[in-house]
């Protein structure tokens, strides 16, 4: 089964005329671990947000879990765990970690339904999976960058998603925390055979279980293939050195 199927997709932001991504043809099968790499401004986040329907595409057709994105976007989102690019959190924000993880289930539980004991069990399981169970009652503003990232990951996992979209999960993290998150993603993929799409501009942090890499540059896919082949190609070297991106 194709988890993602994009056919000639193009996305233009409202009020603008130049597409951020265009001619996107992408098929991702169930259980694949895929990395989308590219320099800053290549359109990686736009591509992720087009997949989960937050940004409507302006041309082509797109399917997630064999459902057309614009028609079934709310239903589709309930099956997609999304970890947003690192954002600033107010240190005094009035939220406990466990509540943030539970908020990931809000859509899946559905309107007019209360949170059940089973939902909380899923929350504890997800927090345990990322090693954050002891932080359940910790205010999110008191977490370190790495801890916060793990909570966001637990939040996405609490959705019990069929597809996990991760936007720059390693940004603003120190080396050892990056390694921890990387191991965590490998473990999740190994244990749950979940389809994972990770976006990164840093070539040195592509999880080992990731087998396929897509290179996005100036809004279009320029390479798509096995990780080893892509990462050793001279084209990658040119793109990333030209843009001055970490390698």
């Amino acid at each position: 089964m194709n988890v993602i199927d994009l056919q000639n997709v193009e996305t233009i932001y409202e009020g603008e005329s130049i597409p951020v991504i265009y001619n996107i043809n992408l098929t991702v099968k169930a259980g694949e671990f895929l990395a989308i790499i590219g320099p800053n401004g290549a359109g990686k986040t736009t591509l992720l947000e087009t997949i989960n329907g937050i940004l409507p595409y302006t041309a082509g057709r797109g399917f997630v879990l064999e459902k057309e994105i614009p028609i079934y976007k709310t239903a589709i989102r309930k099956e997609i765990g999304y970890v947003i690019q690192n954002f600033e959190i107010d240190p005094l924000a009035p939220f406990l970690s466990k509540d943030i993880v539970m908020s990931g289930r809000a859509g899946k539980i559905g309107m007019f339904r209360f949170v059940s004991k089973e939902d909380w069990e899923i929350v504890w399981y997800s927090m345990g999976l990322v090693g954050m169970i002891d932080f359940a009652h910790r205010p999110i503003g008191r977490l370190s960058g790495g801890e916060f990232q793990k909570i966001l990951l637990a939040r996405a996992l609490a959705q019990k998603p069929k597809l996990l979209l991760l936007d720059e999960p390693f940004s603003n993290l120190d080396f050892s925390t990056r390694r921890q998150i990387e191991k965590l993603l490998n473990r999740i993929h190994e244990k749950q055979q979940m389809t994972i799409v990770i976006v990164s501009h840093d070539l040195s942090f592509i999880p080992s279980r990731c087998s396929r890499v897509i290179v996005l540059d100036q809004g279009k896919i320029i390479m798509d293939g096995e990780k080893e082949k892509i990462l050793t190609s001279t084209m990658i070297d040119n793109i990333f050195h030209k843009k001055g991106v970490n390698q």
Partner: protein
Amino acid sequence: MIDIPLALLFTSILGAVLAGFVCSTMGVFVVRMNLSSIGYCMSHAAFAGAAFGLMISVDSLISAMVFSFGVAFVLGPLSEKARLESNVVIGFLFSVMIALAFVFLNFIPGQAASGAALRILWGSIFSVGYNDLMFLLLLSFVLIFFIALFYKELLAVMFHRKLAESAGVNTKLFYFAVLFFTGFSVSLSLRLVGGLLVFALIINPTSTAYQFFYDFKKIMIFSPVIGIVSCLIGFWLSLITDFPIGASIVIVSAALFAFAIIISPKRRKWNGKQRKMGFKLNT
């Protein structure tokens, strides 16, 4: 101290409690969504509406509600469609509403009507009627029901709107619901607290609660409690000093907020020892 009949006293106290409850409950969402200025906008829309009602001899409560809802309906779609920051749209609507209010006030015939208009501006203990109480009571129950039923969605939206949307929550619906209920709360509290100060009853109690708690649920509980306490103490202050009630309530709520800032455990720096011991503040 003013001597007032017991029935009127009871009506006024109940009015103060309910106005404190609805405004400071909505304040939790308004403050978290960074829409503090929506309070000014809604209250001035309601004020303009009340002035319009007086001008055309219609119940000012109804016209205040119509104007508040008008703003609520315009604000959300306008800021989304025009791709403008909510605060820019709020600033624009605020200025239009205050201008309209003064135009309408200018056309209110007779001195008695002018007195009524001023009561809308400053608020009055005596202007709370049975209908106001019934509406406030109804709104209080609706709010409790709304929050209890949609707590998980509201929490998700309050944390991060885009993340909530990505999890399949209809964030637009809850954003508009917050605007809508804020409009309701402001309109119904207008006669008691006054158009110029009602926004303070939205912002101050919530801001006070924010100084003490990290748990959103506790803020949801304590913000209305602080709002009600502010209204009751303000009411008493108004009775003994003959201050306008709106001003008294705002002075009390502002004093509570200032005191909260001073003693806030959230603002105290944790020392290394506390951190090491895993000390938790109000969690």
